[in-house]
Structure formats: structure tokens, C-alpha cells
């Protein structure tokens, strides 16, 4: 049991001593901040890193000094004290606690409280409101004042994820419809969710806030530089949690307004479509597109689903029963009901607020006539509109 202990043995421990902030290069700390909150959090983070690194070094320097000096093998005799004796020793015991109290509640506490107040200051002077709705596994963005609404899904091809082709530069951090926001404006962000909890996170904004089903949460951002900012959902939300990125285009205000106009007219055009009668082929073509965006994640491209969690649509009874009952209304648990209202406590979400009349009609028609389903019937956007 006799051991020779030589200090060089400590060398492998060294990586453990390397404080993070000293290597404050890219990748060792937060990405470059572009909002006031992000700058503040980075500042706080750096300050804290310095504090805890100092604590760490001081405390363990003392310990290591002792480990070198007070060893049996160098003949150090064991002392017998078991507690502080005398005023001087009590003083030396008290000092660290005074320091720690000061660090906790003054040095770290005061900036933190200030930061909290500024982070929670969502309601004053907001220039515009952005409503973010999380759902499995996409984000819906809504500009309530402008009446614009769209969903944003992962744009990385599944082939890249399955290693079938080379990965692009922004692998997993790219979407079909990025949010566009003006720089220099205070944006009040409202968050909610349709199914489970998601968390909207863009590291460069210093903003991370949960989207909770049935509740509204809020936060704010003021982006200072134009650019493309990327983030991810940060709360485990099921199978494709890793595949629901957030992409924000920050642009000058004029550009933003122009973009909003195009979105508005597109929305108008889409709403107009609900009035006319659609041919089956039109619906099938449109439905295929909607399906590929909104439904494949669960029901898969071939309609086979991933049972038992996600049922197949091919041969499904819901899909293969008549659309409307005797009274001309869709029966409870009918195809229309299921797609518009979803099913509680399952991953099948309500699409009534996500999809337009045309999209709903199209995707339902598509499902009834694909994957080997041969109902042959269709539903018109006008019929969906009448159900709202």
C-alpha cells in the first residue's frame, strides 16, 4: 500500500483546468451577439467565467499546494486540528464566505437582476408583433397586424440526412420559408404551440423561450445587423425534434415592407381560390405538394406511416369512409374532422389554422386517391370554408 506520488502525475488533469473563457475564440463561447439581450448575456457569461475560473484556480491551487507539501512520502507529520481555533483562524474561515456572498449576490446577482428586467420588458415600445406557433415539426409564423401567416419547415433533403448525398453548408439549419424581420425595430414575439412544448431559440439573439400548448409566452428582439440567423428547437418534442430549425432573415425596413406586401398578395390569391370550384386534377396536384410539406414527417411518402406511433393512411378506415354524413356534415372522426381538428393526446395536430381552405381540400382529396386508396371522391375548398 505504499505509494510514491509524484506531481507529474497531475499533468493529465490539466485539460480539466483549462478555463473556457480564456480561449475566447470563435466556438469557445457564444456566437456573435446581434441583439441587446445577446450582448448582455455574452457580457454576463464572460464575467461569470472569469469569476468561477478565478475561484477554481485559487481553491485548487491551495489544495494542490497541500498535496505537494503535506505528503507522507516527504515526511510531513500529520497535524490533529479539527476546526478553527482562535480569532485569527475564524477570520480566515469567514473570509471565503464573505467573498462568496459578495460574488453570489452582488457581483453576479445585480447584473443578473438588471438583465432579467430587460429580458422581460416585452410590452413597451414594440414596433411589431410576431406570433410563433410551434408544432410537430415546423414553425408557423404570423404577422397579426398584416394578416400574413405561413409555416416554415426544414429544407435539407432527407437524402443528406441519410448520408445519401453530400451535406450542404447549412445542413439542418435551412428552411423553406424563413421569417423576415426588419433591423433596428423592436419585435415583440408571442409564442404558443399546437401540440407539445417547443422552444424557439436563436443563439445570436440571446433569446430562448418555450412555446407551450394552450398558453402564450412572450419575448422580444431588436436585431441590430442585417443577416441570416439560424437556430433550432431546444425542447425535446418527439421524433423530429432535431429537424425543426429556425431561420431569420434580418433586412432593412424597406425590404421588409416589400416582402410583407408580396406575402399579403399571395395570401389574398390563396384565399380567393376557395370561391371557385376546383377540378380533381388541380386538387390532386396541390394536395401532393401540401402532403409532402406537412404530412410526410409522420405518414411517410408512401402513406404507410410508422406504426404504431403514426398510422398508415393507405387503407385507413378514416380515409376510406364517406366524407360527409347523411346530414351533409362531416361526421365525428371522419377524414375532414381528423385533418381539421386533429386528435387530442396524439401527435395528429389540428390543421384548421395552419392550412388554407384550398390546402385542406387538396390534401384530403389527395389522400383519398393515393397510396392505393381509391375512394375517387373529392372535397371542394368551398365546402371546407363552410365548415369553419
Amino acid at each position: 500500500m505504499k505509494t510514491v506520488f509524484r506531481p507529474p502525475h497531475l499533468l493529465p488533469l490539466l485539460p480539466g483546468f483549462l478555463p473556457c473563457s480564456v480561449l475566447a475564440a470563435y466556438n469557445f463561447t457564444f456566437p456573435e451577439p446581434v441583439t441587446p439581450i445577446a450582448r448582455e448575456t455574452l457580457h454576463i457569461h464572460n464575467e461569470f467565467m472569469l469569476i468561477i475560473t478565478t475561484l477554481f484556480v485559487v481553491v485548487f491551487a491551495i489544495m494542490i499546494y497541500s498535496m505537494i507539501k503535506h505528503r507522507k512520502s516527504v515526511g510531513h507529520p500529520a497535524a490533529r486540528f479539527t476546526g478553527p481555533r482562535g480569532a485569527l483562524q475564524w477570520f480566515w474561515v469567514a473570509v471565503p464566505f464573505a467573498i462568496l456572498l459578495f460574488i453570489d449576490f452582488v457581483l453576479m446577482g445585480i447584473p443578473a437582476v438588471q438583465a432579467i428586467f430587460s429580458m422581460e420588458d416585452t410590452k413597451t415600445r414594440a414596433d411589431l408583433v410576431l406570433k410563433v406557433t410551434g408544432m410537430q415539426w415546423k414553425w408557423q409564423y404570423e404577422y397579426p397586424e398584416a394578416g400574413v401567416r405561413f409555416t416554415s419547415t426544414l429544407a435539407t433533403p432527407r437524402q443528406q440526412i441519410a448520408n445519401g448525398e453530400a451535406k450542404g453548408e447549412h445542413y439542418l439549419l435551412e428552411v423553406d420559408n424563413p421569417v423576415v424581420l426588419p433591423v433596428g425595430k423592436k419585435v415583440r414575439v408571442l409564442l404558443t404551440s399546437l401540440d407539445v412544448i417547443h422552444t424557439w431559440w436563436v443563439p445570436q439573439f440571446g433569446v430562448k423561450r418555450d412555446a407551450i400548448p394552450g398558453f402564450l409566452r412572450e419575448t422580444w428582439l431588436l436585431i441590430e445587423q442585417p443577416g441570416i440567423y439560424r437556430g433550432q428547437c431546444a425542447e425535446l418534442c418527439g421524433k423530429d425534434h432535431g429537424f425543426m430549425p429556425v431561420v431569420v432573415h434580418a433586412v432593412p425596413e424597406a425590404e421588409y415592407l416589400a416582402w410583407l406586401e408580396t406575402k399579403k398578395s399571395a395570401a389574398k390569391a390563396a384565399a380567393g381560390g376557395a370561391e371557385r370550384a376546383w377540378s380533381k386534377d388541380e386538387l390532386l396536384a396541390a394536395g401532393k405538394e401540401v402532403y409532402a410539406k406537412q404530412c410526410v414527417a409522420c405518414h411517410q411518402a408512401n402513406g404507410q406511416g410508422l406504426p404504431p406511433a403514426f398510422p398508415p393512411l393507405a387503407g385507413s378506415t378514416v380515409v376510406n369512409t364517406p366524407l360527409f354524413g347523411m346530414d351533409g356534415k362531416p361526421a365525428h372522426d371522419s377524414h375532414v374532422d381528423r385533418v381539421m381538428n386533429g386528435k387530442a393526446n396524439t401527435a395528429m395536430q389540428a390543421f384548421r389554422n395552419t392550412l388554407s381552405d384550398v390546402e385542406l381540400a387538396a390534401v384530403i382529396t389527395y389522400e383519398r386517391n393515393s397510396f392505393g386508396n381509391t375512394r375517387g371522391d373529392m372535397v371542394q375548398p368551398a365546402q371546407i370554408k363552410a365548415l369553419r
Partner: protein
């Protein structure tokens, strides 16, 4: 059984190896497994559950029977007795925390969640539940209408039943301490009867709630907290009544004496605990 008082802490009774604990663990396993199967639509689950329950009942008879035998044969003296008492106290403490979870849920939903759901429109500028007022009692923005349970009908009767039963066990305990066996037996019998009456009234109350008030487990936050709190309480009353009946039977068979009757006291403590929980229920679930 009377020489124990004089014995110092010389020798602590270590029970011999026993197969009951393993079997009990196995019984619980099958009970859980069967239950999981049953609620997920596997019909066989019911039988697995039944098997598990049968094993558990078997063990309870065997294990407690053995404990009673050991107790009767004088294996437990003062030292062991203290262990049992501490054990029972901390077991009841854990039960208190179990109820605390459900009371916590009740307070949280009532004081924080429901008002927040109701205020959402004014607080955030855009509304998720525009029509919802957020007042208690509530079954939530999409809940079915229901009538909450009033405090002064059956609940008040049940309160008096449980309070009197607390008195009757204590009276029985006095009887035991004074070696008045008749008082012991009568007191226990009265307690058991009061407990059974309580359960009967509660069953009636549930029936009434489901059939006439629209008050079900599914009646939102109110229904969920109402049925989980009163339900777990009722379950504890049932257990307590069964335990009291066992004590009654043992008393009839001449078990217990004025010095050594941990089983009686443990059950009585349990009964008082159930009583206190009821008072909290009466105040926070039914009354205010």
C-alpha cells in the same frame, strides 16, 4: 409476553431469511405489467393483473401472519418496538407528501393556471381562449359544463363520520390501556362501521356526480383534482378500514395488551392521518 419490559437492549431480533419479499416484488411486477397491458388494449392484461393481485394478497397474509406470529411468540421487545414506531411515522410522512402533490396541483391550477388562461386575452394582446373567464370552479376553456360538489350535504356528513371515528379509536385505545377488552372491541367495531359508512356515502356521492352533476374525471381541472384527491383519500380510508378490521379480529382473539400493541397504534395513527387529510379536503376541495 410480559417479561420484555425488563429486558435491556441486549439482543435485537433479526428475522430469518424469508421468501415473501421477493414474491411480493414479483406480484407487484405482474400487477403493473397487467395494468399496462389492460390500459393499452391487450385483453390478457386483466388476467395478468389478477394473478399479480392474488400473489400480493397471498404474501400479505403470509408476511403479516408471520409478523403476528413473531410478535405473539415474544420476539419483539422494546428495542424492536421503537423501530416499528419510527418506521410507521416515516411511512405516514411519505404518504403526506403524496397527498401534498395533489394538493399542490389543485392550488396551482386554481390560483395560477386557470386565471392565466382566462386573462390571456387582456394580458397578451392576442387571444387563444377569447371566451374563457378563468374563474374557479372550472373545467377549462373547452370543458363540459358541470355542477361543482357542495360542501354541506354528504361531505359534511362524512366529516362528522370521520371525526367521530377518530374519537372511537381513541376510546378503544383507552380501553386497551386500561385492559377493558369490551371497550376495546366496541370502540374498534364502531370505528370500522363508521369507516364503512363513509365509504358508502362517498360511493353514493360519486354516483350522483357522474349521473346528475356532469362532474366526471374528464371535467377539466376541477374534475381531475376533485376525483384524484377524494379518490386517493377514499382508497386510503378503505385500506384503513381493512387494517382496522384486522385489528378488531385480533382483539377478539385476545391479542395485544396494555404494554405491547404496536399494530393497534400504527393503524390508529394511520387512521388519524386519513382523518386530517379529509379535513384538508373538506376545506379546500369542497368548501372554499
Amino acid at each position: 409476553m410480559s417479561q420484555h419490559a425488563s429486558q435491556a437492549r441486549g439482543h435485537y431480533f433479526i428475522p430469518p431469511p424469508s421468501l415473501y419479499p421477493v414474491i411480493l416484488a414479483g406480484g407487484l411486477f405482474f400487477l403493473a405489467l397487467g395494468f399496462i397491458q389492460a390500459i393499452n388494449g391487450y385483453a390478457a392484461g386483466r388476467w395478468v393483473m389478477l394473478g399479480g393481485a392474488a400473489i400480493i394478497v397471498y404474501v400479505l397474509f403470509g408476511w403479516f401472519g408471520k409478523v403476528i406470529y413473531e410478535s405473539r411468540s415474544g420476539a419483539y421487545r422494546d428495542w424492536e418496538d421503537v423501530s416499528f414506531r419510527y418506521g410507521m411515522v416515516w411511512f405516514i410522512a411519505s404518504e403526506v407528501m403524496f397527498f401534498a402533490a395533489f394538493f399542490g396541483a389543485l392550488f396551482y391550477l386554481r390560483v395560477i393556471a386557470v386565471p392565466e388562461l382566462g386573462n390571456m386575452a387582456s394580458a397578451h394582446g392576442t387571444s387563444l381562449w377569447p371566451e374563457f373567464a378563468g374563474t374557479w370552479p372550472s373545467s377549462g376553456p373547452h370543458g363540459n359544463p358541470f355542477t361543482p360538489m357542495g360542501a354541506w350535504g354528504i361531505p359534511a356528513i362524512n366529516t362528522s363520520l370521520l371525526l367521530s371515528s377518530g374519537v372511537t379509536v381513541t376510546w378503544a385505545h383507552w380501553g386497551l390501556l386500561a385492559e377493558r377488552r369490551r371497550q376495546l372491541v366496541l370502540g374498534l367495531a364502531a370505528t370500522v362501521l363508521l369507516g364503512m359508512a363513509f365509504i358508502g356515502f362517498q360511493a353514493y356521492e360519486y354516483h350522483h356526480a357522474y349521473t346528475e352533476l356532469g362532474l366526471t374525471m374528464g371535467a377539466g381541472a376541477y374534475g381531475a383534482t376533485f376525483f384524484m384527491l377524494t379518490g386517493f383519500h377514499g382508497f386510503h380510508v378503505t385500506l384503513g378500514t381493512i387494517m382496522l378490521s384486522v385489528i378488531l379480529l385480533r382483539s377478539l382473539n385476545g391479542h395485544f395488551d396494555a404494554q405491547r400493541h404496536f399494530a393497534f397504534e400504527g393503524v390508529a395513527w394511520y387512521w388519524h392521518f386519513v382523518d386530517v387529510v379529509w379535513l384538508l379536503l373538506f376545506v379546500f376541495v369542497y368548501w372554499v
